[in-house]
Amino acid sequence: MKIKERQRYILFQIIKKKENMKVKKSIFLKTLWSSIWRYFGLKGANKMGLWLVELNNKNNYGILRVSQYSKEMAISALTLIKNINGMPIIFSTVKTSGTLKSLKKNNRIE
């Protein structure tokens, strides 16, 4: 019997020092993965099942998909990021949900 790994979608807000600063996807992912490796190592990174669904610089939000049991690890890794390329930044988690549709609907995201 196949057991599908359940996912969790994490909506996070980006709070930047300079409003016109753009966070590139590649740089964000590099920073997030280095945070995951630093705090959780290979074992934690294996379990994560991380996927960046969306990163919207215009409205300052992003959506991550992770496996169900590594949600807390993903939120911790995101929270512990203090700067990107030397610029102070906060990634603040807003909401988590089991489906992308309900996450977007409840937070009025198109």
Partner: protein
């Protein structure tokens, strides 16, 4: 969920700085905040309190933290805080001051904001805190520093002392204690750090950010209300 950020140090005379901090707190999702001035000599007046509350929808409470250097200074300074209507915290690595403060009913919180002070917590202090209904506050700001080796050491020390605190019956508060605006974090995100990196069970971590700050604020209101003597007692007439 009514999570509390129980310590935010701001220069209350600089209204621009206060407004910036409060704006960032709103963006980050903090709904209940306890603010303290940078020095314990600062007088929190009703005018300042109303001005700050008018800037934001966040529920704001106030506190003062004393940092006495020795027992004599503590005894001298604490006298100014008889019938103090805001929260009073004491911060010191001196064991004699910790023991005295944990027995004093004027002190609401015994706070530990850096690793040197966290290391000074002893079993005796924990026991006195639990007997006298004084809260113990641990700051998570040492965990958010850049230096990797120091951060790792801080995690280890906080983990060890948090285990000791959880095994005792003391009421504890956990706070972000952000040194700057971009170190502010949502309390729910700090709970995730406690769960994933400090191995604190999620219900216990939530108590440090939600249940205990709520009871602390409620207990303070009961203390300030002259009609009430304590939990469950109220003066109804005469006396």
């Amino acid at each position: 969920m009514a999570y509390y950020e129980t310590r935010l140090r701001v220069d209350l005379q600089n209204s621009e700085e206060v407004a910036e901090y409060l704006n960032t707190c709103e963006q980050v999702g903090i709904t209940n905040l306890i603010i303290e001035p940078l020095t314990s000599e600062f007088m929190i007046t009703d005018a300042i309190k109303n001005q700050i509350q008018s800037l934001t929808n966040i529920k704001i409470y106030f506190r003062i933290t004393m940092n006495p250097r020795n027992l004599k200074e503590f005894n001298r300074k604490i006298q100014k805080f008889n019938n103090f209507k805001y929260l009073l915290a004491v911060e010191s690595s001196n064991k004699r001051i910790q023991l005295k403060a944990s027995k004093d009913s004027r002190v609401d919180i015994l706070t530990f904001s850096n690793i040197r002070k966290i290391k000074s917590i002893s079993k005796g202090v924990l026991s006195l805190l639990s007997q006298n209904n004084t809260y113990l506050e641990l700051s998570l700001s040492p965990l958010l520093i850049n230096n990797k080796s120091e951060q790792s050491r801080n995690f280890r020390i906080t983990y060890r002392f948090m285990e000791r605190v959880l095994n005792s019956r003391v009421k504890y508060l956990l706070c972000g204690d952000a040194p700057s605006r971009f170190c502010l974090r949502n309390p729910r995100a700090l709970i995730s750090i406690c769960v994933s990196l400090l191995d604190i069970p999620i219900q216990k971590a939530k108590m440090g950010f939600e249940k205990y700050p709520q009871t602390l604020v409620k207990d303070k209101f009961i203390k300030n209300d002259t009609q009430k003597f304590g939990n469950g007692f109220k003066l109804i007439g005469g006396g």
